[in-house]
């Protein structure tokens, strides 16, 4: 059993920790609101999000459109070389625009959506199932998978894993759609055990081969752009899988996997790492797994218990997680109460910081943790902080954004970038006139807002000295102070 946190340990810092980890952080007023609710109600406020209406509308292209696919395919197949080239370019540009819109749409949900915890879970599932547009090559399928993660974000594990396996983007990503009984493709069968549910060492190569046979028939209906079970290509024979024998199909394979004792250990350890920032000890891992099983393999009650536990508020957990690039960007914009940069800029920043949404590096997803930080990404964070607070366009050329070196689109992006103006931070909005009149108070108020903790005395002194040296301190100097605070090792952790 996880130990419940005693109520006397619930305070502003604890509320900030909860909001940072279960969501994307927030300004002092939001943290205070949670602190005032008390632990249980604060956790419920985040976790029981279904009661909160979500008015977000979907992109207008987010629906099946097989005619469009057929149109481009015909032009590319039957056209003259010129027509072919034209159609390819048109489709590529259309899809690039949609992906940009999709990235902006999702970031806005994290930023302004009424259900931050739900989005935090969607981000977890995206990293877990690690599907990339690079292979799927269809923005509608990427959106659809994202919506699936949202719909089942804190649902039952077997249900989610089955649905994720039948999802069109996944059918393409791990080749399951091409698997047939005379030639089973083992890609999904392997990864569902190795990466999604059990981890290496908990199945054999023979289990993979048998699971691949059972999974045949899971396929795609191109007319409706959705999953279809094709009995003709399904292997009806008996299979022996993880110690059981039967004429299993794909659904039963998932059911058997999730019923393994290791399955609860695997997924809860990964969730703990995501929310608490640590690999759990063996003892804690067993406790987490037991809790998950006791809650019927349902994520919501398990996570509720986790967020109310003493373990989650342990010293080794608090302020000891490197912010992911998404956490860094969305969290910064939230605490500074400014605007998220336009999709093109946000995307550019996240790519350079190593977390290109909808394009994880490979099937294993992002490594996370301290690997987010290299000398490069750290300097980029420091410089992007300047762009965010001052409202300047960050120092990456549009050429860097164009996918292939020398590829098309570089010039167009360059022009688009020149037109972009960002908001920057409004210090009169985040500091009271009294605070702004007192250099000591400026540093204290910003510390509380940006870190929800204190810096070292030397660092505080450096910041005060910076302001003291200004004979006529302006708002721009306060903006620079914010940038300096964000340009510290301390700001990179939460």
């Amino acid at each position: 059993m996880l130990k419940p946190l005693s109520s006397d340990r619930w305070n502003y810092a604890a509320a900030a920790h909860l909001l940072n980890r279960a969501g994307f952080g927030g300004p002092p007023a939001e943290i205070q609101m949670l602190a005032d609710l008390g632990l249980d109600k604060a956790v419920a406020f985040l976790v029981d999000y279904e009661t909160i209406p979500d008015p977000t509308t979907n992109p207008d292209w987010a629906k099946p459109n097989p005619e469009e696919i057929v149109k481009y395919r015909a032009a590319i197949k039957n056209g003259t070389p010129e027509e072919k080239k034209q159609a390819q370019r048109e489709q590529q540009q259309l899809f690039q625009r949609r992906m940009l819109e999709l990235r902006g749409w999702w970031l806005q949900r994290m930023m302004h959506g009424p259900r931050p915890f739900q989005e935090k879970m969607v981000l977890f599932w995206h990293g877990h199932f690690a599907t990339s547009i690079e292979k799927v090559k269809n923005p509608y399928f990427m959106w659809r998978q994202n919506e699936l993660f949202r719909r089942l974000a804190t649902e039952n594990w077997q249900h989610l894993l089955t649905e994720a396996g039948k999802d069109p983007a996944m059918l393409i990503w791990l080749d399951q759609g091409q698997s047939r009984k005379d030639h089973p493709n083992e890609n999904f069968a392997r990864e569902v055990m190795e990466l999604f549910a059990l981890g290496e060492g908990h199945y054999t190569e023979h289990d993979i081969a048998e699971a691949a046979r059972a999974l045949t028939g899971w396929s795609m209906n191109p007319e409706e752009q959705k999953f279809i079970f094709r009995a003709r290509i399904h292997d009806e024979g008996a299979k022996t899988f993880l110690g059981r024998t039967g004429n299993f199909d794909g659904d039963e394979v998932i059911q058997i996997i999730v019923a393994q004792p290791q399955a609860a250990r695997f997924i809860t350890a990964k969730l703990w790492n995501y929310f608490a920032g640590q690999v759990p000890s063996e003892e804690l891992s067993e406790t987490l797994a037991a809790s998950f099983r006791a809650h019927g393999n349902n994520f919501k009650p398990f996570l509720r218990e986790m967020f109310r536990s003493e373990e989650f508020f342990h010293d080794a957990v608090m302020r000891n997680q490197v912010k992911s690039p998404v956490q860094w960007l969305v969290g910064s914009v939230r605490v500074l109460e400014c605007q998220l940069p336009p999709p093109l800029i946000s995307w550019g920043m996240l790519r350079q910081l190593g977390q290109d949404l909808f394009a994880p590096p490979n099937v294993k997803g992002w490594d996370g943790g301290v690997t987010w930080i290299t000398t490069n990404t750290l300097l980029t964070r420091y410089n992007d902080a300047q762009s965010l607070v001052e409202g300047t366009v960050p120092p990456f050329g549009a050429g860097d954004l164009a996918k292939k070196p020398g590829g098309q689109g570089g010039m167009k992006l360059e022009k688009a970038m020149q037109r972009i103006r960002l908001g920057g931070v409004n210090v009169e909005k985040i500091l009271t006139p009294e605070e702004r009149a007192d250099k000591h108070a400026i540093v204290t108020a910003l510390e509380r807002r940006l870190f929800q903790a204190t810096l070292s005395h030397d660092q505080q002194q450096t910041l005060r000295d910076f302001l003291e040296a200004k004979t006529k301190m302006s708002n721009a100097d306060i903006v620079t102070t914010i940038r300096l605070m964000m340009s510290t090792p301390d700001y990179q952790v939460t």
Binding site: K364, G369, V370, I373, N376, L378, Y382, D400, T462
Partner: protein, 440 residues
Amino acid sequence: MKNEISLQTRREFLRQTVLGSALSWTVPAFLANTFSALHSQAADSATQIVTGKDSTILVVLQMAGGNDGINTVVPFTNDFYHKARPTLGLHAGKVLPLNEQVGLHGAMKGFKELYDAGQLSVIQGVGYPNPNRSHFRSTEIWQTASDSNRVEKHGWIGRYFDAACAGADPAVGVTIGSQLPQAFFAAQPKGIVFNNPQNYRFMSNGGSTEESYKKLNELEMSSPLAEENSGGSIGMLPAGMPMTGGRAVDFVSRTALDAQHSSDEVRAIAARVQNQAEYPGSQLGTSLKLVAKLIGGGLPTRIYYVSQGGYDTHTNQLGSQQRLLGDLADSVKSFVDDMKAQGNLSRVLVMTFSEFGRRVSENANGGTDHGAAAPMFIVGNKVKAGLLGQYPSLAPADLFQGDIKYNVDFRSAYAGVLEHWLKTKSEPILGKRFPPLPVV
């Protein structure tokens, strides 16, 4: 330079207090590296010390998009070749013959000169079992050196750094580009990336902002260093290896000092060193020009990574490949001349790769589609010059789904470079034993 002094002071401080105790991950890599250099006899023998003055250097050159190897190293007297390529086939007058059967594409005069000077090795028919024809996946296979049915998250260069360069300066790997290639992904990521050295820095208008940034990023001396027990000697641990159990912010602090140190160094070198050869104005030429400067300036780098794109020639291949291969040969030739003028040529090896070659038969659009095996080039004055490996058969009966079959596994080429050039064991890096190709 106030900062220089404080770094110097910290170096002194660490020398006096940390030597004789275990290195914490709060010690910046460049300082840790100084210690391991001081104590090189005691240091783990697997750890390579990079000084920037005498170690060997590898330049990896990616030809992105899948270069048509058959029209690069051309079997110009082969009947199967001309039958499969009635319009794209290159005849004797359009190639630079290396022997009676094969020649380099006519645009590659620079490579022919290197070949004649004994500075170019051509490895023929390089590939891997069960080839994958997706750009994305096949690039990943080359970058991670994995089997085609296994996914590795770390790259082969990253694993080299993990295995042999623990505690090295972050500039041990330098990528000219905008993103770290997957080849660099590692358990302890190292390597820096930039297009322009001016962007690899803390941007500010200088003055008190810059000064404050440096102060805010100074190492906190209060924490774990002082508490470290002083039982072991530095030689008992791989020097500078990040320890587990430290707090995340300590790791970031260490990286922040590394960043400050290496960005100052990179910009100083780029401003100081002059190139001693003329380069093409292309992206590749510009990248190699910068690499030459960094080598000349003594950056402690073992591996540089540059790339050239555009090889995905499904349509009208003749013109575009002519341009690309010309650019490749000219840029690399300029780089070799520059290295020679610097006196660094015997330290430098250039290795090219592309994610796959292309189909033997041309397509209906004057181009070629994704294929399998292709040649690799290795350049330097220590190379085993000439043609290595066998040219794969083009006889239709010998093809697999229209593609030539590989004769040399690319991981044998990697193994050769790792063992014979970087002087490290290849097996821990490549995951299994591949016979190292005698490339040098």
